[in-house]
């Protein structure tokens, strides 16, 4: 955002600016509340893959 754009925002009516503050608060709360999405579908495959490698490479004879 350019300095000129910021100055334009600074000249908005106070009520409009407070409305935008409320939107920013709502956005920040939703962002903080968003669940952490784990790549759980990849994890079992990774584990199986590691185990498979271990079984083929382990020679207990």
């Amino acid at each position: 955002m350019t300095a000129e754009m910021r100055r334009t925002l600074a000249r908005l009516p106070y009520a409009e600016k407070l409305r935008r503050v409320a939107e920013l608060i709502e956005f920040s709360r939703r962002f903080k509340a968003a669940p952490v999405i784990l790549d759980i579908q990849a994890r079992p495959a990774m584990l199986l893959g590691s185990r498979a490698i271990a079984e083929t490479e382990t020679d207990l004879s």
């Binding site: 910021r6 100055r7 106070y14 009520a15 407070l18 409320a22």
Partner: protein
């Protein structure tokens, strides 16, 4: 559904009620929510109301102030009073902040009369606190607000303050 707005009219109504009840002599909105009047919008999670207490004792009449606000239907959450779902801090003014309250601008917000710190006082108060975010606030206000530079200089001089060097 739009997000709930900032209930500044309700905050002003509560402050006006305290003044009418004789619990405070005067008040004004300070802090970040006041700064937004002069700059681009930014996130802030509470309102700061500075007041000149009617009770000059050690408690500054804070227990009576909180009791009055509870009677108005507002709730207490640690150091905040929750007004219209929005946290409000009530801060006794002295020195520079008392001057800021006395010289605050009278405004009207959604039909409610209120008072708000001048931009020049907000800058001086930020200079007196001096945290990183205060320096950022000063820079933002100097860049974006329409300032009375002679008024700002007089306030800074009177309180032996200076602006941080960029």
């Amino acid at each position: 559904m739009p997000p709930p707005g900032i209930p500044l009219a309700e905050v002003f109504a509560a402050a006006n009620s305290l003044r009418s009840a004789g619990l405070i002599l005067e008040y004004a909105l300070g802090g970040a929510l006041a700064a937004v009047r002069y700059t681009e919008p930014f996130t802030t999670y509470d309102a700061d109301i500075f007041f000149i207490p009617a009770d000059t004792g050690l408690s500054a009449g804070v227990p009576a102030i909180y009791a009055h606000l509870r009677e108005l239907g507002h709730t207490v959450d640690r150091e905040h009073i929750i007004i219209g779902g929005f946290p409000v801090q009530w801060l006794g003014a002295h020195g520079l902040t008392e001057e800021a309250v006395r010289e605050a601008l009278a405004i009207e917000f959604e039909g409610a009369p209120g008072r708000i710190f001048r931009a020049e006082h907000l800058i001086a108060i930020a200079a007196s606190v001096g945290r990183t975010k205060d320096r950022a606030r000063i820079e933002q206000m100097i860049e974006q607000a329409d300032l009375d530079r002679s008024l700002l200089d007089a306030i800074l001089d009177r309180h032996h303050l200076s602006l941080p060097t960029p």
